[in-house]
Symmetry: none
Subunit: 176 residues, 2 copies
DNA sequence: TGGATGTTCATGGGATTGCATGGGACTTAA
DNA sequence: TTAAGTCCCATGCAATCCCATGAACATCCA
């Protein structure tokens, strides 16, 4: 039961390198071990469709993409079009011996990354944000959760459970 | 499970040469190694049927085409026509010692290639575009994905049930 | 219990390699 | 001989490897 959880902020150095948070790396390595051994660890990374952020994940993400396309006939227009968006935008980023990746210019630009990047666990995948933008988004996500609670009539506070502990959780549930 | 992913733009020199992006070359070489060793590396390349671009790939692409034709009765008109359409315009381009191919005039013309060419990974094959035209294409593809995203959410599960019953969604957790 | 030791990670910088690209030389065919 | 195709080498930038540092945390032992 390996998932990407919680958030970490690391530094983007002059060469465009960032350390992948160790817990995330552990998840990635286990996926590799499970899928095809021998392949050096790397992540699949692409611009998020509707946010100034990057989506990223390991082998299991690639499997998901394959699954999407597997349903379409080999030479259909539809397949080509989806392939462009799904494979064409994806970058395969190698993880070096020190657990770092290099974020290419094009990806940095889409997310507006400069000196610090925030890794946000979303279960099967994770996202990469600028710390500031992610903070905003987190706020919005919390709002939304509150609204949803009202909708369901669940407004009563948990008596003991610490509400503060729900931080990263909120982010995850608000997505997509 | 080697796929062509992401996009790269390289220069087309005065002699009509382009470097194949190193990651793509790696995929091609692995296909060769797997199929029939000894053959020097080369790619299958042909004008895309419905776009100002070229389709290209390695051994596995050829196998796919064979597979398509195999589905049709041996001496049918349909098969003959398809064979011509699929194989007739195919060129076998050799990859030289420096990882480059020479794009013949006829292919360059179909795609309108001049000084720069963009290689677009599409999983099993890749395409070759002018950078400008591809940018347009990419925009369209993204739109389309956005439109049909909800559909994804629905298709994601039933497709291709992996042995063990877990959908692609569970791939991350598939191994405890 | 508290100080010392070790380990895991993030980070920085230098050294090295890989890769795209340009150009020259050699071969082959008209 | 010319033109086109092929091979080989030179170059510069960028990616990759390797090692050093230091902080946060865990472990051990007196």
């Amino acid at each position: 039961m390996d998932r990407f959880v919680s958030t970490f902020t690391n530094k983007l150095d002059a060469k465009g390198r960032v350390s992948i948070p160790a817990p995330f790396r552990a998840v990635l390595e286990r996926q590799i071990a499970h899928a095809s051994q021998g392949a050096s660890t790397s992540i699949y990374c692409y611009p998020a469709l509707d946010a100034p952020a990057l989506d990223a994940g390991g082998e299991s993400l690639a499997v998901t993409i394959d699954g999407l396309l597997a349903g379409l006939p080999d030479y259909s227009d539809e397949r080509d079009e989806l392939s462009v968006a799904l494979y064409g935008d994806v970058q395969l980023l190698a993880i070096d011996g020190d657990g770092r990746i290099i974020l290419p210019e094009s990806l940095r630009q889409h997310a507006g990354l400069q000196t610090h990047v925030t890794f946000v666990g979303l279960g099967q995948k994770f996202q990469i944000w600028t710390p500031e933008r992610f903070e905003e988004r987190r706020q919005r996500a919390r709002e939304k959760v509150r609204e949803t609670r009202k909708l369901f009539g669940l407004t009563q506070r948990p008596i003991n459970a610490a509400p503060g502990g729900a931080g990263p959780d909120d982010a995850a549930s608000g997505h997509e």
